[in-house]
Symmetry: none
Subunit: 193 residues, 4 copies
Amino acid sequence: MGRTRDEEAKARILDASLEVLEELGYPGVTTEAIAERASASKATIYRWWPNKEAVMLEALREAVAQELPFPDTGTLKDDIRIQVHNFVKLLNSTRGRAFKGIIAAAQSDSTVAEAFLSIWVLPRRASARRGIERYKKELRPGVDLEVLLDALYAPLYYRLLIGHQPLTIEFADQMMELLWKGLHAPSPTDQPR
Amino acid sequence: MGRTRDEEAKARILDASLEVLEELGYPGVTTEAIAERASASKATIYRWWPNKEAVMLEALREAVAQELPFPDTGTLKDDIRIQVHNFVKLLNSTRGRAFKGIIAAAQSDSTVAEAFLSIWVLPRRASARRGIERYKKELRPGVDLEVLLDALYAPLYYRLLIGHQPLTIEFADQMMELLWKGLHAPSPTDQPR
Amino acid sequence: MGRTRDEEAKARILDASLEVLEELGYPGVTTEAIAERASASKATIYRWWPNKEAVMLEALREAVAQELPFPDTGTLKDDIRIQVHNFVKLLNSTRGRAFKGIIAAAQSDSTVAEAFLSIWVLPRRASARRGIERYKKELRPGVDLEVLLDALYAPLYYRLLIGHQPLTIEFADQMMELLWKGLHAPSPTDQPR
Amino acid sequence: MGRTRDEEAKARILDASLEVLEELGYPGVTTEAIAERASASKATIYRWWPNKEAVMLEALREAVAQELPFPDTGTLKDDIRIQVHNFVKLLNSTRGRAFKGIIAAAQSDSTVAEAFLSIWVLPRRASARRGIERYKKELRPGVDLEVLLDALYAPLYYRLLIGHQPLTIEFADQMMELLWKGLHAPSPTDQPR
DNA sequence: ATCTAATCGAGACGGTACGTCGAGTCTTCCC
DNA sequence: GGGAAGACTCGACGTACCGTCTCGATTAGAT
């Protein structure tokens, strides 16, 4: 019983957490800053989330919930390319900063790590796996789908997190081309017949 | 003239920072914890490093400085495999926790990010690039070396940081096989001649 | 119109406030603790009282309403002694803690101070004044009744609040004896004739 | 070893606590308010005092440390009168508010109670006892000094804390007169001879 | 026999202050 | 002049109560 949860306050808090993150960067995300911007009290935040990382995670999930459905063009290469392009654009938007922050938090907080996995990573991988499995016979036999998913997504996260080179569409295209054809120049003798 | 830097204290501080990191995890790494374990004072730490991330970074660099020279077996595939296997082992050791912590810190602290790049990432990539370039003619034309390096290393960092699947030697082998041959099963018509 | 006040809830709240006060001491008296113990809601408390001090005050008044009528033995000294003895016993009971709490609250909350005066202090003084005035001719001329009342009651509150010595019947008797006869040993020359 | 306590900061904190108390009243005395006004940090306050009451108590003690030495005019009645007058003036000054606050705090915090006793009450009583004992032969035999001290000081605290009547010099004089001579009009038969 | 409005328990809300912790700086004394 | 010890300011943490509010469920007196 009792008063029901104030959905408006919840929305204000989630919005505020992303705003603060994108304006001040991850170290600027404090519960007090979120509370002030959301015109909410810290107690309300802590009533519903265990820590600020959980707030940001939920905010991020809501913000990107409907984004990035795996496409269905009828062509494997196109499906993958569209998906990867969209993800590159997402990571290059202001959301990218949020991803960096949450992945950083996950390194030392296993609850964040688990939440990030179950809320974001695993659903996206499952969706992509289903999308790719439709073209299973086009894949070289022996290609493990989990490995393939890692090969597709890892370089994007890698450039986001390490920042040694920019995360561009061109890079993504080159990476996909490399994956598609392999790095090795087949010698005449080991070509399939 | 004045006393010179106490090298012994420096060593104690660097050792202590890795010990604390590996025992307590990243959030347990406080300057006070390092100082106490090293029997040093916080002032000494701040005199020689700008912040605790710099301490950890230097400690990490010293610890792994001589590790992982790019091998030279005479065979590209073997060189890469040996290098990747060694890196997998390193990330799975207690050092892996240090890498997670520093990469996390780099997400919100650009000085850490730059230091991590210049001290660890770029030198290792340069070494690997030189090692691979020796076999340039074995590579499929058009393969960009930067992209190839990303394709090799990114999946290892990815599994370290995201943790959706374990970072095993078998995984690394499957990933290299995928990269070597490509994901696509070439149809008879688009085979090279 | 509308539903009438729930007298049972009122009683539960008043009872609970004294229970909490006597069990947990004054800092344990929170509106939430009262509400929980009374199975009432905080809103109900605030609908009928301005703050928790008012609740405690009303509870205290109800609890001691009929206590301590000024006696009428026909002898001034006996009347006073009985009254003081009863008051000492009251302050040494669990009620004493309630008095301490309310007097403490009154120091920073003038509404509590005024309520405590009008509900407890002034009525009791008026009653005592009437009781003593019956024996006016036994009093030394020039004795102001207000001053006398202070001299009688102040030491009891003083020991209750300061706690430098226990508040015992013996102490009260010594105090009354001192007041009765005065502290000064009259020299032969200044004796009345 | 290490840096020594900053005596200036200590003084700023003690001063600030009294200032806040006298300007805002007891409920306005928060550690944060003291810290801000003293340009100190809350951590410094909590390093040296267990709570704000302890701060105020020490501040009060320092403020009144040298005040109120028991006088020595050679006449008991004069010594007492001077002492009581001075105490009345102290309680009626802005310090009175501090006394009210600390006595209130002592009702629910035994450490405050003990500190108030040992720092203020007991030393003052000891001093007064020594002062009065010099005139022991002037006192009526059987007068207990502890009881007499209570009779002298209790009415002052009582009017301060209860506030049913103002705490004036006139009141104090009447009280002392009452105590000196006793309340009872001796009948001819029970006069000393 | 309904309506209707005030009351109730429950508990979420915006606030304020708490007492703690760590960062990075500064001070004192020792070597 | 470097170093250990440790006090300092600052800012954020997560908690506890305050007094207000909104629910849905009673419970009268008025219709």
